[in-house]
């Protein structure tokens, strides 16, 4: 059974009386425990889609049904609380602090290479670190569906690959539904079991990717899938 069904979803914004169609008739039905990646160019509506899914933005039209309440999101910007340390930011979502959760926070601090900065304030850490803290904060929240809005955007290749693998691990271990937004087609192909390409608010591609984790980026199947998505987006650019 599908855990999350999106039907005919549309979203229009108004900027100075000019109408902007950020999302245009999106139809998606996502099963529990799927890793979906959404890829598209800047301004194509990726963030808007995630915001509507987690209830931060009103939809203009359409229907969303889900059977789970706990949806977490990693925002595109870190959005850390400037008055809290890295550690306090990580445990921000946890209202009680028991042993288990302390352990969780510590685990992610180490995993995200932040342990030695746990007492630093957001203004004292680098851009990439901040993004990792933001990722860790949502992981600590431990939601049923995790929405991620370019969480690895500010990271260098090494950290990026390392965290991609960690996210796959997390996915395989906990069988969470993950919706991962990125502008990087390779990243989308590397991570997603299902890859959705957006352009100007429309879904232009929705393919599944059954390659086994951890994927090899020079594998011919991998390159094929990547190529297919790329072409879809590029065609749209030309057409």
């Amino acid at each position: 059974m599908a855990q999350l069904v999106i039907r005919n979803l549309s979203k229009k914004f108004h900027i100075h009386n000019k109408e902007i169609t950020a999302l245009d008739n999106i139809n998606l039905s996502i099963n529990e425990g799927t890793f979906v990646t959404i890829v598209g160019k800047s301004g194509c509506g990726k963030t808007t889609l995630l915001k509507i899914l987690c209830g931060l933005e009103e939809k203009t039209y359409g229907e969303i049904t889900t059977n789970c309440k706990n949806i977490g999101i990693v925002f595109q910007e870190p959005r850390l609380m400037p008055w809290l340390t890295v550690e306090e930011n990580m445990q921000f979502s946890l209202l009680e602090r028991n042993h288990e959760q302390k352990y969780l926070v510590e685990k992610y601090l180490k995993l995200l290479d932040l342990y030695s900065f746990k007492d630093a304030y957001p203004s004292q850490i680098s851009g990439g670190m901040a993004q990792r803290v933001s990722l860790g904060r949502t992981l600590c929240y431990n939601p049923d569906i995790i929405l991620m809005d370019e969480p690895l955007g500010a990271l260098d290749a090494f950290n990026r690959r390392k965290l991609q693998k960690e996210i796959i691990d997390l996915f395989l271990r906990e069988k969470k539904t993950i919706i991962f937004v990125t502008h990087d087609v390779e990243e989308a192909t590397f991570l997603g079991q299902r890859i959705v390409a957006l352009d100007q608010g429309r879904m232009i591609k929705d393919i599944s990717n059954n390659l086994e984790y951890i994927r090899k980026i020079n594998d011919i199947d991998f390159l094929n899938i990547k190529e297919e998505i790329l072409n879809a987006i590029l065609r749209d650019v030309q057409g």
Binding site: L56, N70, F75, M81, L84, F92, Y121
Partner: protein, 257 residues
Amino acid sequence: MKKVKGFIVPAIIFCIWWRGSELGLWNAYIIPHPMKVVNAFVILFKKGILFKHVTVSLYRALLGFTISFIFAFLLAISLSFSKNLLELLERILDFMRHIPPMALIPVLILWFGIGEMSKLAVIILATFFPIFLNTLSGIMCCDQKLIEVGKVFGFSKFHIYIKIIFPQAIPSIMVGARLGFGYSWRALIGAEIIAASSGLGYMILDAEQLSRPDIIIVGIFTIGILGSTMDYILFKCTNWFLHWEKQEQRGGENWLS
């Protein structure tokens, strides 16, 4: 060093006062010689009169401030919760904000009698609005993006207030509280017009009636120095309690302290 600097200007003023009085540059009836004021102070102090007035006034101002703070804070929160309530009350609050408490004294006497209650009411009327408006504006101007973080984590309104809105609104609330505390002190005179028999405001009013400018000046200094000292202590404590130093990380500075 920094501490000393603050006393340069008062010291200069004092010197001018002294010299000017010696040279008779102004009317000694209105601004008496410093020595006369010191004498009056010593007498008031020795007899314990000053101490009595100070305790009474301190009690009134602190109590009035505390009540105002609680009410203003709760009202600001309620209004930020409910747009309906805001629209219902804004006219009447804005009206109240412009009324001189002194003009209301007869009404206050009617409602609260001539005891402590009506004195407190005058203090509260003078103290309420800075706290209320600064708190409301602090809450309203809060960064929406950070609130969204709380919403996604399924925080209750309560937790959003506690964990996101207040920490951000604290600089505003502090400004309001300090202003409010200043007005509490200032209101003592107005409050102690109402049938008081002690308190610094009473002391000044009484001295005025008896044409004792030296005592008036002792009263002014006591109110001023005590007020700024109280303010200093109160907010050092609050800052310490709130781990205010964290605010520095945001580029905010704690003014006047």
